[in-house]
Protein backbone atom coordinates (compact mmCIF):
# COMPACT_ATOMS: atom_id res chain seq x y z
CA UNK A 1 0.00 0.00 0.00
CA UNK A 2 2.83 2.43 0.87
CA UNK A 3 4.52 1.43 -2.31
CA UNK A 4 1.30 2.16 -4.20
CA UNK A 5 0.87 5.61 -2.65
CA UNK A 6 4.50 6.49 -3.35
CA UNK A 7 3.89 5.51 -6.96
CA UNK A 8 0.81 7.73 -7.02
CA UNK A 9 2.85 10.76 -5.94
CA UNK A 10 5.59 10.01 -8.48
CA UNK A 11 3.10 9.45 -11.30
CA UNK A 12 1.20 12.63 -10.43
CA UNK A 13 4.44 14.61 -10.62
CA UNK A 14 5.34 13.13 -14.03
CA UNK A 15 1.77 13.70 -15.16
CA UNK A 16 2.09 17.37 -14.20
CA UNK A 17 5.26 17.66 -16.33
CA UNK A 18 3.52 16.07 -19.33
CA UNK A 19 0.54 18.31 -18.67
CA UNK A 20 2.73 21.43 -18.73
CA UNK A 21 4.29 20.40 -22.05
CA UNK A 22 0.79 19.67 -23.38
CA UNK A 23 -0.32 23.13 -22.21
CA UNK A 24 2.65 24.58 -24.07
CA UNK A 25 1.43 22.98 -27.32
CA UNK A 26 -2.13 24.03 -26.60
CA UNK A 27 -1.28 27.71 -26.04
CA UNK A 28 0.09 27.90 -29.60
CA UNK A 29 -2.27 25.45 -31.31
CA UNK A 30 -5.52 26.99 -30.06
CA UNK A 31 -5.13 30.46 -31.57
CA UNK A 32 -2.91 29.61 -34.58
CA UNK A 33 -3.49 25.97 -35.54
CA UNK A 34 0.29 25.44 -35.53
CA UNK A 35 1.69 22.29 -33.93
CA UNK A 36 5.09 23.25 -32.61
CA UNK A 37 7.34 20.25 -32.10
CA UNK A 38 10.12 22.49 -30.81
CA UNK A 39 8.41 22.74 -27.38
CA UNK A 40 10.52 19.80 -26.20
CA UNK A 41 13.65 21.68 -27.25
CA UNK A 42 12.42 24.75 -25.35
CA UNK A 43 12.26 22.58 -22.23
CA UNK A 44 15.78 21.38 -23.00
CA UNK A 45 17.11 24.91 -23.46
CA UNK A 46 15.54 25.92 -20.12
CA UNK A 47 17.09 22.91 -18.39
CA UNK A 48 20.51 24.08 -19.58
CA UNK A 49 19.61 27.59 -18.41
CA UNK A 50 18.96 26.01 -15.01
CA UNK A 51 22.33 24.28 -15.17
CA UNK A 52 24.12 27.55 -15.91
CA UNK A 53 22.33 29.71 -13.33
CA UNK A 54 21.73 27.23 -10.52
CA UNK A 55 24.60 24.75 -10.75
CA UNK A 56 27.42 26.83 -12.17
CA UNK A 57 26.66 30.31 -10.84
CA UNK A 58 24.72 29.04 -7.81
CA UNK A 59 22.01 31.70 -7.86
CA UNK A 60 19.21 31.26 -5.32
CA UNK A 61 16.52 28.96 -6.76
CA UNK A 62 13.63 31.48 -7.09
CA UNK A 63 15.87 34.02 -8.81
CA UNK A 64 17.28 31.41 -11.20
CA UNK A 65 13.81 30.12 -11.98
CA UNK A 66 12.43 33.60 -12.70
CA UNK A 67 15.37 34.46 -14.94
CA UNK A 68 15.05 31.19 -16.88
CA UNK A 69 11.29 31.53 -17.40
CA UNK A 70 11.65 35.19 -18.38
CA UNK A 71 14.41 34.32 -20.84
CA UNK A 72 12.19 31.58 -22.31
CA UNK A 73 9.45 34.17 -22.92
CA UNK A 74 12.05 35.99 -25.01
CA UNK A 75 13.05 32.81 -26.85
CA UNK A 76 9.41 32.05 -27.68
CA UNK A 77 8.77 35.61 -28.84
CA UNK A 78 11.88 35.58 -31.05
CA UNK A 79 11.04 32.19 -32.53
CA UNK A 80 7.62 33.48 -33.56
CA UNK A 81 8.94 36.80 -34.81
CA UNK A 82 11.63 35.37 -37.08
CA UNK A 83 10.35 31.99 -38.26
CA UNK A 84 6.56 32.05 -38.07
CA UNK A 85 5.43 35.62 -38.69
CA UNK A 86 7.15 36.06 -42.08
CA UNK A 87 5.40 32.90 -43.29
CA UNK A 88 1.97 33.85 -41.95
CA UNK A 89 2.21 37.35 -43.44
CA UNK A 90 3.21 35.96 -46.82
CA UNK A 91 0.14 33.70 -46.71
CA UNK A 92 2.25 30.53 -46.91
CA UNK A 93 0.39 27.18 -46.66
CA UNK A 94 -0.41 26.12 -43.08
CA UNK A 95 2.25 23.41 -43.20
CA UNK A 96 5.10 25.90 -43.78
CA UNK A 97 5.39 27.27 -40.21
CA UNK A 98 5.20 23.72 -38.83
CA UNK A 99 8.11 22.67 -41.04
CA UNK A 100 10.10 25.80 -40.17
CA UNK A 101 9.64 25.00 -36.46
CA UNK A 102 10.73 21.42 -37.13
CA UNK A 103 13.92 22.89 -38.58
CA UNK A 104 14.25 25.10 -35.48
CA UNK A 105 14.00 21.95 -33.35
CA UNK A 106 17.22 20.71 -34.94
CA UNK A 107 18.83 24.16 -34.68
CA UNK A 108 18.08 24.44 -30.93
CA UNK A 109 19.30 20.93 -30.25
CA UNK A 110 22.53 21.24 -32.17
CA UNK A 111 23.32 24.68 -30.76
CA UNK A 112 23.05 23.29 -27.22
CA UNK A 113 25.09 20.23 -28.11
CA UNK A 114 27.70 22.56 -29.65
CA UNK A 115 27.82 24.73 -26.53
CA UNK A 116 27.58 22.16 -23.75
CA UNK A 117 28.81 18.92 -25.31
CA UNK A 118 27.02 15.59 -25.31
CA UNK A 119 27.30 14.83 -21.56
CA UNK A 120 24.33 15.21 -19.19
CA UNK A 121 24.67 18.14 -16.77
CA UNK A 122 23.22 18.30 -13.24
CA UNK A 123 20.44 20.72 -12.32
CA UNK A 124 19.58 21.04 -8.61
CA UNK A 125 16.04 20.49 -7.27
CA UNK A 126 14.28 23.41 -5.62
CA UNK A 127 14.49 22.32 -1.96
CA UNK A 128 17.39 19.88 -2.09
CA UNK A 129 17.08 16.13 -2.04
CA UNK A 130 14.74 14.90 0.63
CA UNK A 131 11.56 13.03 1.37
CA UNK A 132 8.34 14.58 2.47
CA UNK A 133 5.57 12.59 4.15
CA UNK A 134 2.08 14.03 4.18
CA UNK A 135 0.03 11.47 6.09
CA UNK A 136 0.03 8.36 3.92
CA UNK A 137 1.42 10.20 0.87
CA UNK A 138 5.18 10.24 0.55
CA UNK A 139 7.54 11.41 -2.14
CA UNK A 140 10.57 13.55 -2.89
CA UNK A 141 10.46 17.29 -2.20
CA UNK A 142 10.79 17.87 -5.93
CA UNK A 143 7.67 15.77 -6.69
CA UNK A 144 5.57 17.91 -4.37
CA UNK A 145 7.16 21.08 -5.74
CA UNK A 146 6.33 19.99 -9.31
CA UNK A 147 2.72 19.29 -8.35
CA UNK A 148 2.40 22.67 -6.61
CA UNK A 149 3.92 24.62 -9.50
CA UNK A 150 1.83 22.80 -12.12
CA UNK A 151 -1.27 23.43 -10.00
CA UNK A 152 -0.43 27.12 -9.90
CA UNK A 153 0.22 27.36 -13.66
CA UNK A 154 -2.96 25.51 -14.57
CA UNK A 155 -4.93 27.57 -12.07
CA UNK A 156 -3.58 30.76 -13.61
CA UNK A 157 -4.22 29.54 -17.16
CA UNK A 158 -7.79 28.55 -16.28
CA UNK A 159 -8.42 31.92 -14.62
CA UNK A 160 -6.91 33.76 -17.59
CA UNK A 161 -9.01 31.97 -20.22
CA UNK A 162 -12.25 31.85 -18.25
CA UNK A 163 -12.27 35.08 -16.31
CA UNK A 164 -10.35 37.80 -18.15
CA UNK A 165 -11.16 39.75 -21.30
CA UNK A 166 -7.65 39.12 -22.71
CA UNK A 167 -8.22 35.39 -22.27
CA UNK A 168 -11.55 35.66 -24.05
CA UNK A 169 -9.78 37.31 -26.99
CA UNK A 170 -7.48 34.27 -27.25
CA UNK A 171 -10.57 32.06 -27.26
CA UNK A 172 -12.18 34.24 -29.92
CA UNK A 173 -9.13 33.89 -32.16
CA UNK A 174 -9.24 30.13 -31.63
CA UNK A 175 -12.89 29.95 -32.68
CA UNK A 176 -12.68 32.19 -35.75
CA UNK A 177 -9.55 34.11 -36.74
CA UNK A 178 -11.24 36.33 -39.29
CA UNK A 179 -14.17 37.25 -37.13
CA UNK A 180 -11.84 37.96 -34.21
CA UNK A 181 -9.74 40.27 -36.36
CA UNK A 182 -12.90 42.09 -37.47
CA UNK A 183 -13.84 42.56 -33.81
CA UNK A 184 -10.62 44.52 -33.36
CA UNK A 185 -8.52 41.81 -31.75
CA UNK A 186 -4.85 42.21 -32.62
CA UNK A 187 -3.95 38.85 -34.19
CA UNK A 188 -0.24 39.60 -34.25
CA UNK A 189 -0.16 40.42 -30.57
CA UNK A 190 -2.17 37.33 -29.65
CA UNK A 191 0.18 35.11 -31.70
CA UNK A 192 3.31 36.68 -30.19
CA UNK A 193 1.97 36.30 -26.66
CA UNK A 194 0.86 32.73 -27.34
CA UNK A 195 4.38 31.74 -28.43
CA UNK A 196 6.02 33.60 -25.54
CA UNK A 197 3.72 32.00 -22.95
CA UNK A 198 4.13 28.61 -24.60
CA UNK A 199 7.92 28.84 -24.35
CA UNK A 200 7.64 30.01 -20.74
CA UNK A 201 5.49 27.02 -19.78
CA UNK A 202 7.70 24.57 -21.70
CA UNK A 203 10.76 26.09 -20.04
CA UNK A 204 9.22 25.70 -16.60
CA UNK A 205 8.51 22.04 -17.35
CA UNK A 206 12.12 21.54 -18.45
CA UNK A 207 13.48 23.19 -15.34
CA UNK A 208 11.23 21.13 -13.07
CA UNK A 209 12.00 17.78 -14.70
CA UNK A 210 15.75 18.44 -15.04
CA UNK A 211 16.79 17.31 -11.51
CA UNK A 212 15.35 13.85 -12.27
CA UNK A 213 16.71 13.35 -15.78
CA UNK A 214 19.68 15.82 -15.89
CA UNK A 215 20.01 18.43 -18.61
CA UNK A 216 20.87 16.64 -21.82
CA UNK A 217 20.71 17.81 -25.42
CA UNK A 218 18.54 14.84 -26.44
CA UNK A 219 15.96 15.25 -23.66
CA UNK A 220 13.62 17.36 -25.82
CA UNK A 221 12.06 14.95 -28.27
CA UNK A 222 10.84 12.38 -25.69
CA UNK A 223 9.22 15.24 -23.74
CA UNK A 224 7.69 16.57 -26.96
CA UNK A 225 6.16 13.19 -27.75
CA UNK A 226 4.88 12.60 -24.22
CA UNK A 227 3.45 16.11 -24.06
CA UNK A 228 1.76 15.62 -27.38
CA UNK A 229 0.30 12.30 -26.31
CA UNK A 230 -1.08 14.01 -23.21
CA UNK A 231 -2.60 16.71 -25.42
CA UNK A 232 -4.26 14.19 -27.74
CA UNK A 233 -5.67 12.20 -24.80
CA UNK A 234 -7.06 15.27 -23.07
CA UNK A 235 -8.20 17.13 -26.17
CA UNK A 236 -6.75 20.25 -27.78
CA UNK A 237 -9.73 22.36 -26.87
CA UNK A 238 -9.45 22.90 -23.12
CA UNK A 239 -6.74 23.82 -20.64
CA UNK A 240 -7.95 21.21 -18.13
CA UNK A 241 -7.64 18.59 -20.88
CA UNK A 242 -3.89 19.02 -21.02
CA UNK A 243 -3.51 18.27 -17.30
CA UNK A 244 -5.99 15.39 -17.40
CA UNK A 245 -4.20 13.87 -20.41
CA UNK A 246 -0.81 14.22 -18.73
CA UNK A 247 -2.04 12.47 -15.59
CA UNK A 248 -3.69 9.62 -17.53
CA UNK A 249 -0.52 9.10 -19.56
CA UNK A 250 1.80 9.13 -16.53
CA UNK A 251 -0.37 6.71 -14.55
CA UNK A 252 -0.70 4.32 -17.51
CA UNK A 253 3.06 4.46 -18.04
CA UNK A 254 4.20 3.99 -14.46
CA UNK A 255 1.61 1.39 -13.48
CA UNK A 256 2.55 -0.72 -16.51
CA UNK A 257 6.22 -0.56 -15.56
CA UNK A 258 5.46 -1.45 -11.94
CA UNK A 259 2.64 -4.01 -12.14
CA UNK A 260 2.22 -5.38 -15.67
CA UNK A 261 4.20 -8.54 -16.49
CA UNK A 262 5.98 -7.07 -19.54
CA UNK A 263 9.68 -6.32 -19.90
CA UNK A 264 10.50 -2.67 -19.08
CA UNK A 265 11.64 -2.06 -22.67
CA UNK A 266 8.20 -2.92 -24.02
CA UNK A 267 6.56 -0.74 -21.37
CA UNK A 268 8.19 2.20 -23.19
CA UNK A 269 5.76 1.45 -25.99
CA UNK A 270 2.72 2.19 -23.76
CA UNK A 271 2.51 5.94 -24.45
CA UNK A 272 2.98 5.28 -28.18
CA UNK A 273 0.17 2.74 -28.26
CA UNK A 274 -1.99 5.10 -26.22
CA UNK A 275 -1.27 7.89 -28.71
CA UNK A 276 -2.18 5.73 -31.71
CA UNK A 277 -5.35 4.42 -30.06
CA UNK A 278 -6.56 7.90 -29.12
CA UNK A 279 -5.72 9.35 -32.54
CA UNK A 280 -7.73 6.64 -34.23
CA UNK A 281 -10.67 6.28 -31.87
CA UNK A 282 -11.12 9.71 -30.37
CA UNK A 283 -8.95 12.29 -32.14
CA UNK A 284 -10.83 15.10 -30.42
CA UNK A 285 -9.61 13.96 -27.00
CA UNK A 286 -11.63 13.37 -23.85
CA UNK A 287 -12.71 16.94 -23.21
CA UNK A 288 -14.44 18.75 -26.04
CA UNK A 289 -13.95 22.49 -26.55
CA UNK A 290 -16.78 24.67 -25.34
CA UNK A 291 -19.20 25.70 -28.03
CA UNK A 292 -19.04 29.33 -29.04
CA UNK A 293 -21.61 31.08 -26.89
CA UNK A 294 -23.91 33.70 -28.26
Amino acid sequence: MNDFLELVVGATASGCIYGLVALSYLLVTRPTGIINFAVGEWSMVAAFGGFMLLSRWELPYPVGMLVVVAAMFGVGWATERFTVRPLVERGAPPLAPILALLGMLVVFRELVSLGFGPDPQPVPPSFGFGRLELGPLAGSYQSFFIITMAGAVFGAAWWFFERTLAGKSFEAVAIDRRAAALMGINLRLVTSLAFAASAGVAGLAGLLVAPNVSAHYLMGLPLAIQGFTALVIGGVGRVEGALLGGLILAFAEQFTVRYAPVPPGLAMGVPLVLLIVFLLIRPTGLLLPREARA
Binding site: I35, T83, P86, L87, A92, P94, L95, A96, I98, L99, A100, L102, G103, M104, L105, V106, V107, R109, E110, L111, S113, L114, L221, I225, F228, T229, V232, P263, G265, L266, M268, G269, L272, V273, L275, I276, L279, L280, P283
Partner: protein, 310 residues
Protein backbone atom coordinates in the same frame (compact mmCIF):
# COMPACT_ATOMS: atom_id res chain seq x y z
CA UNK B 1 10.60 6.12 -76.47
CA UNK B 2 12.81 9.10 -75.77
CA UNK B 3 12.43 8.65 -72.03
CA UNK B 4 13.23 4.93 -72.35
CA UNK B 5 16.46 5.86 -74.08
CA UNK B 6 17.17 8.32 -71.26
CA UNK B 7 16.75 5.58 -68.67
CA UNK B 8 19.09 3.24 -70.56
CA UNK B 9 21.77 5.94 -70.85
CA UNK B 10 21.40 6.78 -67.16
CA UNK B 11 21.67 3.08 -66.23
CA UNK B 12 24.85 2.65 -68.28
CA UNK B 13 26.48 5.83 -66.97
CA UNK B 14 25.58 5.28 -63.30
CA UNK B 15 26.70 1.64 -63.53
CA UNK B 16 29.95 2.55 -65.25
CA UNK B 17 30.76 4.88 -62.34
CA UNK B 18 30.45 1.91 -59.98
CA UNK B 19 33.39 0.17 -61.67
CA UNK B 20 35.69 3.16 -61.27
CA UNK B 21 35.50 3.60 -57.50
CA UNK B 22 37.60 2.37 -54.59
CA UNK B 23 35.96 0.62 -51.66
CA UNK B 24 35.45 3.81 -49.59
CA UNK B 25 33.95 5.73 -52.50
CA UNK B 26 31.81 2.71 -53.37
CA UNK B 27 30.27 2.81 -49.90
CA UNK B 28 29.47 6.53 -50.24
CA UNK B 29 28.18 6.06 -53.80
CA UNK B 30 25.86 3.19 -52.84
CA UNK B 31 24.38 5.12 -49.93
CA UNK B 32 23.94 8.20 -52.09
CA UNK B 33 21.97 6.09 -54.57
CA UNK B 34 19.87 4.59 -51.76
CA UNK B 35 19.11 8.00 -50.19
CA UNK B 36 18.12 9.29 -53.62
CA UNK B 37 15.79 6.31 -54.09
CA UNK B 38 14.17 6.96 -50.70
CA UNK B 39 13.90 10.69 -51.34
CA UNK B 40 12.16 10.01 -54.67
CA UNK B 41 9.49 7.78 -53.15
CA UNK B 42 9.10 10.04 -50.12
CA UNK B 43 8.71 12.96 -52.49
CA UNK B 44 5.74 11.21 -54.05
CA UNK B 45 4.18 10.60 -50.62
CA UNK B 46 4.94 14.02 -49.11
CA UNK B 47 5.34 16.32 -52.08
CA UNK B 48 2.82 14.97 -54.56
CA UNK B 49 0.26 13.20 -52.36
CA UNK B 50 0.71 15.76 -49.56
CA UNK B 51 0.93 13.31 -46.67
CA UNK B 52 3.26 14.33 -43.84
CA UNK B 53 4.28 10.87 -42.69
CA UNK B 54 7.31 10.02 -40.57
CA UNK B 55 7.02 6.32 -41.30
CA UNK B 56 8.90 6.22 -44.60
CA UNK B 57 12.28 5.46 -43.09
CA UNK B 58 10.57 2.92 -40.83
CA UNK B 59 9.41 0.95 -43.88
CA UNK B 60 13.01 1.05 -45.11
CA UNK B 61 13.90 -0.63 -41.82
CA UNK B 62 11.00 -3.07 -42.00
CA UNK B 63 12.16 -4.13 -45.46
CA UNK B 64 15.75 -4.61 -44.29
CA UNK B 65 14.83 -6.62 -41.19
CA UNK B 66 12.12 -8.59 -43.01
CA UNK B 67 14.40 -9.88 -45.76
CA UNK B 68 17.03 -10.97 -43.22
CA UNK B 69 14.55 -12.71 -40.93
CA UNK B 70 12.82 -14.41 -43.88
CA UNK B 71 16.10 -15.57 -45.40
CA UNK B 72 18.07 -16.70 -42.39
CA UNK B 73 15.49 -17.54 -39.74
CA UNK B 74 12.50 -18.72 -41.76
CA UNK B 75 14.85 -20.16 -44.38
CA UNK B 76 13.04 -19.04 -47.55
CA UNK B 77 14.94 -18.92 -50.86
CA UNK B 78 15.82 -15.37 -52.01
CA UNK B 79 13.06 -14.78 -54.62
CA UNK B 80 10.37 -15.99 -52.22
CA UNK B 81 11.84 -13.95 -49.37
CA UNK B 82 11.74 -10.79 -51.53
CA UNK B 83 8.09 -11.42 -52.47
CA UNK B 84 7.13 -12.21 -48.88
CA UNK B 85 8.98 -9.11 -47.70
CA UNK B 86 7.09 -6.91 -50.17
CA UNK B 87 3.82 -8.54 -49.12
CA UNK B 88 4.64 -7.81 -45.48
CA UNK B 89 5.37 -4.15 -46.25
CA UNK B 90 2.11 -3.83 -48.21
CA UNK B 91 0.08 -5.40 -45.40
CA UNK B 92 1.71 -3.24 -42.72
CA UNK B 93 1.30 -0.13 -44.87
CA UNK B 94 -2.41 -0.90 -45.29
CA UNK B 95 -2.79 -1.47 -41.55
CA UNK B 96 -1.26 1.95 -40.90
CA UNK B 97 -2.84 3.75 -43.84
CA UNK B 98 -6.48 2.67 -43.63
CA UNK B 99 -7.08 4.25 -40.23
CA UNK B 100 -4.32 6.89 -40.32
CA UNK B 101 -5.14 8.56 -43.63
CA UNK B 102 -8.53 9.50 -42.20
CA UNK B 103 -6.62 11.85 -39.89
CA UNK B 104 -6.41 15.46 -40.93
CA UNK B 105 -3.12 17.24 -41.60
CA UNK B 106 -0.56 16.98 -38.89
CA UNK B 107 -2.34 14.24 -36.95
CA UNK B 108 -1.17 11.79 -39.61
CA UNK B 109 2.39 12.90 -38.86
CA UNK B 110 1.87 12.10 -35.19
CA UNK B 111 0.32 8.70 -35.74
CA UNK B 112 3.17 7.72 -38.07
CA UNK B 113 5.71 9.20 -35.65
CA UNK B 114 4.33 6.96 -32.92
CA UNK B 115 4.43 4.01 -35.33
CA UNK B 116 8.09 4.78 -36.12
CA UNK B 117 9.00 4.93 -32.44
CA UNK B 118 7.07 1.73 -31.77
CA UNK B 119 9.12 -0.03 -34.46
CA UNK B 120 12.32 0.92 -32.58
CA UNK B 121 10.84 -0.40 -29.32
CA UNK B 122 9.95 -3.69 -31.02
CA UNK B 123 13.45 -3.97 -32.55
CA UNK B 124 15.07 -3.45 -29.16
CA UNK B 125 12.82 -6.02 -27.50
CA UNK B 126 12.87 -8.61 -30.30
CA UNK B 127 15.47 -10.85 -28.59
CA UNK B 128 17.10 -13.21 -31.08
CA UNK B 129 14.62 -12.49 -33.89
CA UNK B 130 15.76 -8.89 -34.35
CA UNK B 131 19.01 -9.23 -32.40
CA UNK B 132 17.78 -6.57 -29.88
CA UNK B 133 20.04 -3.50 -29.50
CA UNK B 134 22.96 -5.14 -31.31
CA UNK B 135 20.91 -5.84 -34.43
CA UNK B 136 21.73 -8.48 -37.02
CA UNK B 137 25.19 -9.06 -38.50
CA UNK B 138 27.45 -11.78 -39.89
CA UNK B 139 25.44 -12.69 -42.96
CA UNK B 140 25.89 -12.20 -46.67
CA UNK B 141 23.72 -12.12 -49.76
CA UNK B 142 22.85 -15.67 -50.87
CA UNK B 143 23.92 -16.64 -54.37
CA UNK B 144 21.43 -15.73 -57.11
CA UNK B 145 21.20 -18.70 -59.52
CA UNK B 146 24.64 -19.80 -58.40
CA UNK B 147 26.21 -16.36 -58.95
CA UNK B 148 27.66 -14.29 -56.14
CA UNK B 149 26.69 -10.66 -56.66
CA UNK B 150 29.36 -8.52 -55.01
CA UNK B 151 31.44 -5.39 -55.43
CA UNK B 152 30.49 -3.13 -58.33
CA UNK B 153 27.88 -5.61 -59.53
CA UNK B 154 25.89 -5.08 -56.33
CA UNK B 155 26.17 -1.34 -56.95
CA UNK B 156 24.58 -2.01 -60.35
CA UNK B 157 21.67 -3.65 -58.50
CA UNK B 158 21.24 -0.40 -56.52
CA UNK B 159 21.39 1.66 -59.73
CA UNK B 160 18.61 -0.50 -61.19
CA UNK B 161 16.60 -0.07 -57.97
CA UNK B 162 16.95 3.71 -58.22
CA UNK B 163 16.00 3.86 -61.89
CA UNK B 164 13.17 1.34 -61.43
CA UNK B 165 11.76 3.46 -58.59
CA UNK B 166 12.08 6.62 -60.66
CA UNK B 167 10.42 4.97 -63.67
CA UNK B 168 7.44 3.74 -61.65
CA UNK B 169 6.99 7.10 -59.91
CA UNK B 170 7.37 8.92 -63.24
CA UNK B 171 4.61 6.84 -64.80
CA UNK B 172 2.39 7.18 -61.71
CA UNK B 173 2.89 10.94 -61.58
CA UNK B 174 1.80 11.31 -65.21
CA UNK B 175 -1.20 8.99 -64.90
CA UNK B 176 -4.69 9.86 -63.68
CA UNK B 177 -3.55 8.62 -60.29
CA UNK B 178 -0.77 11.22 -60.00
CA UNK B 179 -3.21 13.98 -60.91
CA UNK B 180 -5.72 12.60 -58.38
CA UNK B 181 -2.98 12.70 -55.70
CA UNK B 182 -2.18 16.35 -56.48
CA UNK B 183 -5.86 17.22 -56.46
CA UNK B 184 -6.33 15.55 -53.06
CA UNK B 185 -3.28 17.40 -51.73
CA UNK B 186 -4.40 20.82 -52.94
CA UNK B 187 -8.10 20.62 -52.23
CA UNK B 188 -9.77 17.41 -51.01
CA UNK B 189 -13.30 18.81 -51.28
CA UNK B 190 -12.84 19.86 -54.89
CA UNK B 191 -11.22 16.51 -55.68
CA UNK B 192 -14.18 14.69 -54.17
CA UNK B 193 -16.55 16.83 -56.19
CA UNK B 194 -14.68 15.81 -59.34
CA UNK B 195 -15.26 12.16 -58.50
CA UNK B 196 -11.92 11.28 -56.92
CA UNK B 197 -12.18 8.78 -54.07
CA UNK B 198 -10.08 10.75 -51.56
CA UNK B 199 -9.58 8.02 -48.96
CA UNK B 200 -8.66 5.39 -51.52
CA UNK B 201 -6.22 7.70 -53.30
CA UNK B 202 -4.47 8.47 -49.99
CA UNK B 203 -4.29 4.80 -48.99
CA UNK B 204 -2.92 3.66 -52.37
CA UNK B 205 -0.30 6.44 -52.45
CA UNK B 206 0.83 5.58 -48.92
CA UNK B 207 0.96 1.85 -49.59
CA UNK B 208 2.83 2.03 -52.90
CA UNK B 209 5.48 4.44 -51.63
CA UNK B 210 5.91 2.54 -48.36
CA UNK B 211 6.38 -0.74 -50.24
CA UNK B 212 9.00 1.02 -52.40
CA UNK B 213 10.84 2.12 -49.26
CA UNK B 214 10.64 -1.50 -48.07
CA UNK B 215 12.24 -2.77 -51.28
CA UNK B 216 15.02 -0.18 -50.92
CA UNK B 217 15.52 -1.44 -47.37
CA UNK B 218 15.92 -5.00 -48.63
CA UNK B 219 18.69 -3.84 -50.93
CA UNK B 220 20.25 -1.80 -48.12
CA UNK B 221 20.43 -4.86 -45.85
CA UNK B 222 23.33 -6.23 -47.96
CA UNK B 223 25.21 -2.93 -48.30
CA UNK B 224 26.67 -2.80 -44.79
CA UNK B 225 25.82 -6.42 -43.99
CA UNK B 226 24.61 -5.29 -40.59
CA UNK B 227 21.38 -3.66 -39.40
CA UNK B 228 20.64 -2.23 -35.96
CA UNK B 229 17.91 -0.07 -34.36
CA UNK B 230 19.70 3.33 -34.29
CA UNK B 231 19.99 3.36 -38.12
CA UNK B 232 16.20 3.48 -38.41
CA UNK B 233 15.57 6.09 -35.70
CA UNK B 234 13.93 9.49 -36.02
CA UNK B 235 17.00 11.56 -37.02
CA UNK B 236 17.09 9.84 -40.40
CA UNK B 237 13.32 10.28 -40.86
CA UNK B 238 13.75 14.01 -40.30
CA UNK B 239 16.73 14.07 -42.67
CA UNK B 240 14.61 12.49 -45.40
CA UNK B 241 11.93 15.16 -44.93
CA UNK B 242 14.59 17.89 -45.03
CA UNK B 243 16.03 16.45 -48.26
CA UNK B 244 12.69 16.62 -50.05
CA UNK B 245 11.89 20.13 -48.81
CA UNK B 246 15.35 21.58 -49.48
CA UNK B 247 15.42 20.10 -52.98
CA UNK B 248 11.88 21.16 -53.80
CA UNK B 249 8.89 19.05 -52.82
CA UNK B 250 6.65 17.67 -55.53
CA UNK B 251 9.46 17.48 -58.10
CA UNK B 252 11.53 14.38 -58.91
CA UNK B 253 14.54 16.52 -59.78
CA UNK B 254 14.12 18.35 -56.49
CA UNK B 255 14.22 15.11 -54.50
CA UNK B 256 17.41 14.08 -56.32
CA UNK B 257 19.10 17.44 -55.69
CA UNK B 258 18.03 17.50 -52.03
CA UNK B 259 19.22 13.95 -51.38
CA UNK B 260 22.58 14.54 -53.05
CA UNK B 261 23.13 17.86 -51.32
CA UNK B 262 22.23 16.83 -47.78
CA UNK B 263 23.87 13.41 -48.03
CA UNK B 264 27.16 14.77 -49.38
CA UNK B 265 27.22 17.94 -47.26
CA UNK B 266 28.65 16.25 -44.11
CA UNK B 267 31.65 14.94 -46.12
CA UNK B 268 32.46 18.47 -47.22
CA UNK B 269 31.70 20.09 -43.87
CA UNK B 270 33.30 17.60 -41.47
CA UNK B 271 36.81 19.02 -41.81
CA UNK B 272 35.40 22.46 -41.00
CA UNK B 273 32.86 21.90 -38.21
CA UNK B 274 33.34 18.31 -37.05
CA UNK B 275 30.17 16.30 -36.59
CA UNK B 276 27.87 19.29 -36.07
CA UNK B 277 26.55 19.18 -39.62
CA UNK B 278 23.05 18.56 -38.24
CA UNK B 279 23.07 22.23 -37.22
CA UNK B 280 23.66 23.16 -40.86
CA UNK B 281 20.78 20.86 -41.90
CA UNK B 282 18.48 22.70 -39.49
CA UNK B 283 19.59 26.15 -40.65
CA UNK B 284 19.30 25.20 -44.34
CA UNK B 285 15.84 23.75 -43.71
CA UNK B 286 14.56 26.90 -41.96
CA UNK B 287 16.15 29.13 -44.59
CA UNK B 288 14.56 27.20 -47.47
CA UNK B 289 11.09 27.24 -45.87
CA UNK B 290 11.41 30.98 -45.21
CA UNK B 291 13.09 32.25 -48.37
CA UNK B 292 12.78 29.62 -51.09
CA UNK B 293 9.54 27.69 -50.51
CA UNK B 294 9.85 25.92 -53.87
CA UNK B 295 13.21 24.50 -52.86
CA UNK B 296 16.48 24.66 -54.76
CA UNK B 297 14.80 23.44 -57.92
CA UNK B 298 12.79 26.67 -57.74
CA UNK B 299 16.04 28.64 -58.16
CA UNK B 300 16.78 26.66 -61.31
CA UNK B 301 13.28 27.34 -62.67
CA UNK B 302 13.68 31.06 -62.03
CA UNK B 303 17.02 31.04 -63.83
CA UNK B 304 15.52 29.22 -66.83
CA UNK B 305 12.55 31.59 -66.95
CA UNK B 306 14.89 34.59 -66.95
CA UNK B 307 16.99 33.13 -69.78
CA UNK B 308 13.89 32.48 -71.82
CA UNK B 309 12.66 36.03 -71.24
CA UNK B 310 16.02 37.54 -72.19
Amino acid sequence: MKSLLGFVVAAVVLSAVAFMLGSYQTDIYRKLLLWTTLALSYNFLFGIAGQVAFSHFTFYGIGAYAILILLFQVGLPLPLAVLAGIALCVVLALVVAIPATRLEGFYLALATLAFAQLFIVVLNEGRTVTGAAGGLANYRLPDVFGVRVTGPWYTVVIVLLLLGTLAVLWRLDRSWFGRACRAVRDNPEAARAMGVDVARTKIIAYTITSAMAGVAGMVYAFVDNTVNPPIFGLPNSFLLLFMVIVGGSGRHAGAIIGAALLYLMPFVLSPLIGHHHALVFGVVMVAVVLFQPKGLIGLWDALMARRRAA
